[in-house]
């Protein structure tokens, strides 16, 4: 469950990124957030992974109230939320396998457990063949699937995908979206942000539209309209 209650973010230069945004996402939902550039989507996502603090308002994810979480617990919080970005954010010096394993290593998971979990997740995203390749040697779609594998390997309850298809061609974009749908069917809440009208319209899932820092539309089966 994700709950934002009248969340406002004002940057030190007085830019208002979010103004009183409220939304409620149920467990196992697949939600797409749309909005023009600068509407506040990225701010919203940074709030969810606690890279940013709201100026006012309340954020609760799962059973964790972001106001009361201890600073030293932020890394543990982030381990429970998988995040995927437009620019993949893979470590270039590590192979596909190592990139995925890395997410488990930082959590102190035993090597034996890592060796068991990583091949399984690579198979799920269809990258078993590329496990020994470096990010520089694989396509954009494959990179994004690596990033998704990394986000999923810790079995997060929530997967946040911030414009995961932004750098991909239509074919690869659809592969990624289908992968996200598959993950959602397994019971993970998926929060997707995108600018891709075709994808949003074809998904026929809940769409939340943000404009100038406010939630202006929230439809059960939404379309991409700005």
């Amino acid at each position: 469950m994700i709950l934002l209650d009248r969340v406002t973010v004002i940057y030190p230069n007085k830019t208002v990124a979010l103004s009183g945004a409220s939304l409620h996402i149920q467990p196992k939902e697949f939600v797409t957030i749309v909005g023009a550039s600068g509407a506040g989507k990225s701010t919203l996502i940074r709030l969810l992974i606690k890279e940013e603090e709201p100026t006012s308002g309340k954020i609760i994810v799962g059973s964790i109230d972001y106001d009361t979480i201890d600073k030293s617990n932020i890394p543990h919080l982030r381990r429970k939320i998988g995040v995927v970005f437009q620019d993949f954010k893979l470590l270039p010096n590590l192979t596909v396998y190592e990139n995925v394993a890395f997410a488990l290593e930082v959590s102190g998971v035993k090597t034996k457990e890592i060796k068991r979990a990583v091949p399984k997740i690579l198979q799920l995203v269809g990258l078993s063949e590329k496990a020994r390749h470096y990010p520089g040697e694989i396509s954009g779609g494959e990179k994004q699937r690596t990033a998704i594998a990394r986000a999923l390997v810790r079995n997060p309850k929530i997967l946040i995908a911030d414009e995961p298809t932004g750098n991909l061609d239509p074919k690869n974009s659809w592969d990624i979206i289908e992968l996200l749908l598959k993950i959602n069917r397994f019971g993970t809440t998926v929060v997707l942000t995108t600018h891709n009208k075709d994808i949003v319209d074809a998904l026929k899932k809940r769409v939340i539209t943000i404009s100038r820092g406010r939630v202006v539309k929230d439809e059960k089966v939404g379309k991409y309209t700005l």
Binding site: I49, E51, S72, P75, H76, L77, R78, R79, V83, K89, L90, L91, N93, F102, A103, E105, V106, S107, G108, K110, T111, R150, R154
Partner: protein, 304 residues
């Protein structure tokens, strides 16, 4: 434990991956450690030499042949109670002769002829002082004692001004070496700190993305910080190793020179006897400098 090992591995790997930065940091670490060692040894050397000289020039009270044992004992205990005096040793006429005999070939001959004419060497009290600077005052005090009448002469009386000047010079040089060595060591220590600080800062900068990703996947502060501190410590380990390798031939040449030309066996022996301690100290200082500067760079430039 498993996390510690991973952090260590990562720090180790990073050191080799950033070969050029590591080389610069290691080089300055090497120079710093070499200079620190050099001055530490110089200071120690000058001080042992000074002590040696001081021991040779402590106050000797020559006793009149007419003096009775009780008088000598009384003087000895009186001198021992004076402030600034550590020990007073009695050297009898026979002891003095024996010493002369053992001192050198020349001494042997002299002792032989001295025996023939009935041992003209005086008995003496050898007074060791806390500080050589006090020698003039203590000499005066002792000469003033009523028990002091049996003293014919003291080593201080017979000493010409030139020799006093030498002692003062040694003290001055010793102080200068200590001061210059201390300042130079401190300067190089600071330079090393700054350079390693900058190296780690650059490493942080080039790995900004990596650090961000680590944060995103939920790495704890220590997991991110650890490798940098390991990396800094590595510079210390490498620098110390190279410094020690360089010190082997240097110490051999310098040691030989000191023993032959300056008769400084004591200081050189000390170096040899405590070699393990010195090696450990150099490594410890290297790792300390590396870790501290990394730590500073991280806390300044890594917003965690």
């Amino acid at each position: 434990m498993i996390t510690f090992w991973r952090v260590f591995k990562s720090g180790f790997r990073n050191t080799f991956r950033h070969a050029w930065l590591s080389t610069a940091a290691t080089a300055i670490m090497f120079v710093t450690l070499l200079i620190l060692t050099f001055f530490a040894f110089s200071i120690y050397f000058v001080q042992t030499q000074l002590k040696d000289v001081q021991q040779k020039i402590d106050l000797t009270l020559f006793i009149s042949d007419d003096a009775k044992d009780e008088q000598i004992k009384a003087l000895q205990s009186k001198v021992l109670q004076s402030s600034g005096v550590t020990t007073v040793q009695f050297v009898s006429k026979a002891d003095a002769l024996k010493r002369l005999e053992n001192s050198s070939e020349e001494g042997k001959k002299l002792a032989k002829s001295a025996t023939e004419i009935g041992n003209p060497l005086p008995a003496s009290l050898e007074v060791k002082l806390v500080k050589i600077d006090d020698i003039g005052n203590i000499n005066k005090t002792i000469r003033g004692y009523s028990e002091g009448t049996i003293i014919t002469e003291t080593s201080y009386d017979s000493r010409d001004d030139n020799r006093k000047g030498v002692i003062e010079n040694i003290i001055r040089i010793s102080n200068a070496v200590t001061r210059v060595g201390g300042v130079l060591s401190a300067v190089f220590l600071i330079i090393a700190l700054l350079i390693i600080f900058n190296t780690v800062r650059m490493a942080i900068f080039t790995r900004r993305e990596e650090i961000e990703i680590m944060k995103l996947v939920g790495a704890t502060k220590w997991f991110i910080r650890g490798p940098f501190i390991i990396e800094g410590s590595m510079y210390g380990v490498f620098g110390a190793t190279i410094a020690l390798l360089a010190l082997v031939p240097i110490s051999r040449v310098v040691g030989q020179f000191l023993v032959e030309k300056l008769n400084a066996g004591v200081a050189v022996d000390y170096f040899g006897a405590n070699i393990l301690l010195i090696v450990l100290a150099i490594y410890a200082i290297g790792v300390f400098i590396g870790a501290i500067s990394s730590w500073l760079a991280i806390s300044r430039h890594l917003k965690l």
